[in-house]
Amino acid sequence: MAARAADENRRPGVGRPAPCVRDMGSRRALTDIKNLVGVAPNPCAVAKKPVLQKSRRDEKKTALPSSRPMTRKFVASLASKGQPECQPTGADPEPGVDQRKEPIGDGIIDIDVELDEPVDDSDCDVDMGDETENKDIMNQDESLMDIDSADSGNPLAATEYVEELYKFYRENEAKSCVNPDYMSSQQDINAKMRAILIDWLIEVHYKFELMDETLFLTVNVIDRFLEKEVVPRKKLQLVGITALLLACKYEEVSVPVVEDLVLISDRAYTKGQILEMEKLILNTLQFNMSVPTPYVFMKRFLKAADADKQLELVSFFMLELCLVEYQMLNYRPSHLAAAAVYTAQCAINRCQQWTKVCESHSRYTGDQLLECSRMMVDFHQKAGTGKLTGVHRKYSTYKFGCAAKILPAQFMLELGGTAPPPSGAI
């Protein structure tokens, strides 16, 4: 492949050859996501999030149980009916073997919405549903509101700038939001198609082992673009992979080459089409990629919650469930992040918990988060069923601490209109 990978500071025109599919490691070309189940992991790949509990299986990197790939079979069904056909899933191909399907028509993605088989959870024996002791009620003390003093000597924490930085994020998060009703302006695509696209992109992001912030920026770019441009359904996946490319260029140290994106979309688009779409997206968004996403707020609120690895993973699980849901565009990034931490705490501790420290740093009370949190509980309950289970499968792996195995905080759904004072609050 003559494609070139762009390192973070590589000048234009200087690159390195992209490895072939079997050698790609963390930058593997995903012609068909299913092809890679069982492929030996790249020995150099570093799991970004360590597992919660040690196990004999820790050494083995669990492959993501895979859904159907997005191919071009979609055109016949979507173009005529506006509803995708259910296609039976064939036997798994040999690992690493390119099983690319023949293109049919000129459509782009197989937005097949058949039910996936339930994920086999048998290898995930972490019981995350047990009640844990409530954390000691903290003293209502000024010093406890300061979550940064312990890091004052750590330059990576940027403690001198952190308050100013989050003030700036708060002031600017509205600019990264979209009209939550933008889909009504689209003639050929709908919220369901958006969900299918994002569910697939979550798998692609996982397989490419990209940074968390890249995923959130990708979805933000997609939504801001779709708000401004009417996109035909056959170009929706093109928008998605190009948004991923742009997010990688902004966030990643090492950027996947365009040829890899051609391959993961089953050659539905050419390299030229991706680069043209890149220009269109950048012009439409006026090159504005510097926007606060839920990710930046999540990092802060997890610190305020004094989160351990379990809380971090369950919170991100809740947050990623929301990425797929169009209705969650009603909430600001900071609101989603706060609600994700709140919901995760409720699920882990089996009781409502939102301390004054969390409230102070998030600027949201438990009451304000309750509506959003209930929606997250609802998504959590349905996460392993239905047609779009990418997030659930991802968080059912050991790499992500089997966070999807935690029992949903169902009691949240039974609460009255306003939340009682959180039990862990001050």
Binding site: A3, R4, A6, D7, E8, N9, R10, R11, P12, G13, G15, D151, G153, N154, P155, L156, A157, A158, E160, Y161, V162, E164, L165, F168, Y169, K175, M211, E213, L245, L246, K249, Y250, V253, V255, V257, V258, G272, I274, L275, E278, K279, L282, N283, T284, Q286, F287, N288, M289, S290, Y295, V296, K299, R300
Partner: protein, 325 residues
Amino acid sequence: MATIQNKPTPTAPSTTTGGGLRAMDLYEKLEKVGEGTYGKVYKAREKATGRIVALKKTRLPEDDEGVPPTALREVSLLRMLSQDPHVVRLLDLKQGVNKEGQTILYLVFEYMDTDLKKFIRGYRANHEKIPAQTVKILMYQLCKGVGFVHGRGVLHRDLKPHNLLMDRKTMALKIADLGLSRAITVPVKKYTHEILTLWYRAPEVLLGATHYSTPVDIWSVGCIFAELVTNQPLFPGDSELQQLLHIFKLLGTPNEEMWPGVGKLPNWHVYPQWKPTKLSTLVPGLDSDGYDLLEKMLAYEPGKRVSAKKALEHPYFNDVNKEVY
């Protein structure tokens, strides 16, 4: 041709279409003034208004990888940072096609008549020292600009005299060339260590640290400070190893006592043991406050290095008219 206009107002730039005009129909190139991270820079005149601007040009070859990450970051970050008086203003963005059919991206900046490299060179050529108060004013603006950039969650990662634009008349200084910059998240995570021009590169980066933060820019600021005082680069190494040895020779070879964890950095080896030289010997011509600030900027341990924000409060800047700058 799409256009982004960044007028000096608080409102967001608007996108308009240039009705098929090529960028060079809107601007008249006057002279080439340099090379940026990814293209040539020209002094130009806007035909409609007569305004003098700087045009930074980059080609986007169709057979390549599209918009370079450096260009994407620079434009995006400048749109966020351009409001500050100590960051160069991005006025406009033009995308057009040249005669060969290649897509060209033009970044239109306010024009500044010199940069700090040329400014220092002028004094050096005349065997003169930059007046102490001028050094102070320039350093104050630099710290203010860096503090603003850091407060927006951005590392510049290529601070050097060439990337600091100046207006000779007003002595205004502005940070430019954000081609190697990146937005960071807190806590900062792993980034590439192939950053920064060698002479201004922080020791943690030279020693292979992939987790680094705002102190890498402060080290560069310290090097620039010394260069303003002496008209000579402080650590002019010609390879990564030579650069490290230069630093160690002057500031002393670091050890676990003065920099906990230094021995665990990827590129750490057994180096010759040098004792630190007094800063007053290395950088003659500063007062005691100046030496104190310089020492804090060139602290080995990144966590002990002064922040730009704190530097602004240093007694060295007590006599700067802070309302003007």
